[in-house]
């Protein structure tokens, strides 16, 4: 019972144009995400086919030999270029070129159908690389053209170049399908994790890294990308206390700082007066760390509007490490939203001697720095006095805070402290920790974000990559104390952000600047829209789904109940659409609507109209059945017949009015039945 259109008919020029539009709409969003040669190959093939004389498929020899060979060559090239093939990105690249090859090869409407399927899947792959409002907006015309292409492929005989009607028909069907699509979007079960292991290769890491070389954070600071957004449950903390703790770097090899391997669990900060609660919406960065204000008082929990409403144990999504980092149990590959409590403090109690040992290690380099540190230490009466002296030295000497420091070589700390004296926060934090370690004080670098901007449209805080920061921690008398040497050089960095701290002329990212131009205000409005988009649509994951279902009282529903609900809604939806179509048709001709209402009434009264009976014959039969209204019935039949089959003599409206009046004059059904 499968209906196969005859494969012999070749693709018409018009069908080819629709397919080309679909393929191009599927390919364009991927342009910025693929290698140049793949883009050129895939789209070049499409252009080639369009440029070829239309209505004439490429010769059979080309189809049979050259194109499969081309596909094989592309596959091998991709394998050679990427170094692997069975992963997400090479497969997307291959599909991209394959769609082009299939387009060149397409000969019959059947090929066209296959091409439509391939292009649809290709349109999905753009979401691997971004799920912004823009990418959704690009996918919509692709779906419209998909419908148009299918309609044109179906109609093999049509040679019309009518393009509006298929689009309008598809748009109507899409609108009709939206209730069903929305329901499926909401209730279709979302997974907490992947089905198979593929997402491990998903996307490049963004944001902070687990190592810090000079230049790493200043590079990050040039980006306006949003790292996370925060909703505070109460007033936000003052800018100087917005230290979002991220990776803690204890190891130093003379050039680069890096994280220690797993050292054990840490202890949460004690509850204090300066407790604060907030919800973080973290953009995926493909790393496992989560961010919290210093210092976390609780483990992050999946955000819920009402934590008491969810029965059962709350699953831990992260652990707190020995050096007070929050590490998620899995890399953050999708936007997550967690509620976090912190106690605002710049110190916390250390736990034992392991800390001490790990944070005194220093390679045998940078002799001038070590000499300087020992000399300074010998004059200081205590560790604290020494640290104050170091910060004072930073403050007094002619250090410059800049995003464009000169390149350092050899003993980088020596070169920075005594020669160039121009650097960004990672230079200051790194050099500071080296100075402390050289003096025998355990210290380490902490990276994360400092600051954040309150968006007036929505009242939440935006933390961007340009807020990335590095500071230091020193172990003094059993307590880890935060020191920010950057603040000694450029106090406004901590108080007012990057834009205020950098000298004029530095390439500050646009949104990190302080002046509130209308453009920046527009960007903030746009960010508020984006935030809702991220929360409501892109971030619609297992947790949000549970929340929503709970709001509808469906949290306790069994799977079959949900399936039954969907089936019932789908059924009701179908009836509604069909009923709507019928009602709209009836509205289109009032005469027909009136006549069918009369037929229904007489049918209920026991005299249904036979399908082969015209209006006059039916009226005659009804008149003989109900002789008391025979004149009225006959007149109804004649008026309707004149309306439908008579000449258009301009009396249409009067006739319709007369018909309506006559039908209204008939008694109700009960009277007629008796």
């Amino acid at each position: 019972m499968i209906f196969a259109p005859s494969p012999a008919t070749p693709l018409s020029r018009w069908q080819l144009a629709w397919l080309a539009a679909l393929v191009v709409l599927a390919q364009v969003p991927l342009w910025t995400h693929l290698r140049l040669w793949i883009v050129i190959a895939g789209s070049g093939l499409v252009a080639l086919r369009i440029a070829l004389p239309a209505d004439r498929p490429p010769p059979a020899r080309l189809r049979r030999w050259l194109l499969p060979l081309l596909a094989l060559a592309v596959a091998l090239s991709i394998r050679w270029d990427f170094g692997y093939f069975l992963a997400r990105d090479p497969c997307v690249a291959f599909l991209y070129v394959l769609v082009g090859i299939k387009f060149v090869e397409a000969k019959s409407p059947r090929d066209g159908g296959l091409l439509v399927c391939l292009a649809l899947f290709l349109a999905l792959t753009q979401f691997f690389y971004g799920q912004s409002i823009a990418s959704a907006a690009i996918a919509l015309p692709a779906v419209l053209v998909l419908g148009g292409a299918l309609a044109t492929l179906r109609d093999t005989s049509a040679a019309t170049n009518e393009w509006k009607a298929p689009l309008a028909a598809t748009a109507r069907m899409l609108l009709q399908g939206i209730p069903l699509a929305a329901l499926l979007f909401v209730v279709f079960p979302r997974l907490a994790g992947p089905l198979w292991g593929a997402p491990a290769d998903a996307g490049a890491h963004s944001g902070l890294s687990d190592r810090m070389a000079p230049g790493a954070i200043s590079e990050l600071s040039l980006s306006d990308t949003v790292a996370f957004r925060v909703d505070f449950n109460g007033p936000p903390p003052p800018p100087a206390q917005r230290y979002w703790r991220g990776p803690v770097l204890s190891r130093f090899d003379g050039f680069e700082w890096s994280m220690l391997p797993w050292v054990g669990r840490g202890a949460l900060a004690p509850p204090g007066a300066r407790a604060i609660e907030y919800t973080v919406t973290l953009e995926p960065h493909n790393r496992s760390w989560l961010f919290a204000l210093e210092h976390p008082r609780s483990l992050p929990r999946p955000a819920e509007d009402d934590p008491f409403a969810s029965p059962g144990p709350v699953r831990d999504i992260a652990v707190l490490t020995y050096d007070q980092q929050l590490l998620a149990t899995a890399p953050v590959t999708q936007a997550i939203r967690y509620t976090q409590r912190s106690t605002l403090a710049d110190s916390f109690a250390a736990r034992g001697d392991a800390d001490r040992r790990d944070n005194l290690q220093l390679p045998r380099r940078n002799p001038r720095t070590i000499e300087f540190a020992r000399e300074l230490k010998s004059r200081a009466i205590s560790d604290r006095a020494y640290i104050a002296a170091v910060l004072d030295w930073f403050r007094k000497e002619s250090f410059t805070y800049t995003l464009a420091p000169p390149l350092l070589e050899g003993d980088t700390v020596d070169a920075f402290l005594f020669d160039t004296r121009r650097g960004f926060c990672e230079h200051y934090a790194g050099a500071f920790v080296v100075l402390l370690r050289a003096a025998g004080i355990p210290a380490r670098v902490v990276t994360g974000y400092q600051g954040g901007e309150i968006n007036p449209n929505g009242g939440y805080m935006i933390v961007r990559d340009s807020d990335a920061h590095a500071w230091a921690e020193a172990l003094i008398a059993g307590t880890w104390q935060r020191f920010d040497p950057t603040a000694a050089v450029a106090p406004s960095r901590v108080e007012r952000g990057l834009g205020a701290a950098l000298p004029q002329g530095e390439p500050v990212p646009y949104l990190a600047r302080l002046d509130m131009t209308w453009l920046k205000s527009l960007r903030l409005h746009w960010d508020a829209v984006n935030y809702q988009w991220q929360r409501g649509v892109v971030g619609f994951n297992l947790e949000r789904q549970r929340d929503l279902l709970r709001d509808f009282g469906l949290s306790g529903a069994r799977p079959w109940q949900v399936v039954a609900l969907v089936a019932a809604v789908a059924f009701a939806w179908g009836l509604a659409i069909l009923g709507f179509a019928r009602a709209r048709h009836a509205r289109s001709d009032p005469a027909v609507a009136l006549w069918s209402r009369l037929c229904r009434r007489l049918g209920r009264a026991g005299l249904p109209r036979r399908t082969d009976e015209g209006p006059l014959a039916y009226a005659r039969r009804a008149a003989s059945r109900w002789p008391q209204w025979s004149e009225l019935l006959q007149r109804i039949g004649e008026t309707y017949a004149a309306l439908r089959y008579g000449p258009d003599d301009g009396a249409r409206d009067q006739r319709i009015a007369a018909l309506r009046k006559s039908i209204a004059a008939l008694p109700r059904g009960r009277t007629m039945r008796s």
């Binding site: 649809l120 779906v143 789908a570 709209r584 399908t611």
Partner: protein, 326 residues
Amino acid sequence: MSTAANPRSWIASWRQRLWRIAPADPGVVVLRHRRIYILPTRRGLALIATLAIMLLTSMNYSLSLGHALTFLVAGLVASALLQTYRNLAGIAASPLAAGEAFAGGQVAFTLSLANAGAARQAIVVTSRSGGSVSVDLPATATRQVQLTVPAPRRGRLALGRVTLSTDFPLGLWRGWAYVHFPVTGIVYPAPESPAPHLPPGLQGSDFRRSARAADAELAGLRDYHPGDPLNRIAWKAVARGAGWYTKQFEGTGGSGTLEFHWAELPPGFDTEARLSRLAAWILAAEREARAFGLTLPGVDLPAGSGAGHRRAALCALALFPPERAP
């Protein structure tokens, strides 16, 4: 005993309901949901499979917009299903006319498709053995559709089950419904070819006599056709080895009334050959505008002429032996 209690009749009624095997449909059939079937086409299956792969991908990579795109297209596919249904539902199909043909030709059947609702497009009407016709039905319009069915043998030819189908609007679904009207066309016997000459006709005489009476006035010879009476073959010419000829007599091409008798056809002919000969004669008589009578076992058609007479005669041949009237 009710029909439901008898499993065999229960099965039969379901078979009839599902496949409309028997020509049991009343005069007008309005296509409703009980009659309409819908299954995905090959292209629809391919698209649904693509959607399934897209869904798996979206789940695996937690692509919220992937879910959205998949469900959006799924909504489009579901909506197309409704449109396919709507395109068929409510069409009133009825048989209008059944044609006639000679065996080996094609019988044309005319159906009427009435549309009481909104416009419908690309309704394909297919007969079981014949070709198919595609028709568009504008809103509240009635269209006639002609189906031709090959007629290999004489007799009655049933139209058989007719399928009304559509894959409008996107070609993703094919909806169809069976209608099986008890209409039959008539298939006449194939006229003998090459056409034999008419028997000589004489007013009120039978074939044999007319042949004998004409013996005296030999007009000439013509080529022999198989089935020519033995006594009119030019045996002398055959003996000379000059070939087979038949003697022709004055008066055979005249304008007298013809009488076609079953019994006077050559005895070596079987039934079908006789019917073919008679059909050819009827056509020839019609061509020459001569009145003719027809006598078959059980059928006696008085002499006459005209299209109605010709049709009656050909029908008698087509339906030979005559059906016993109840």
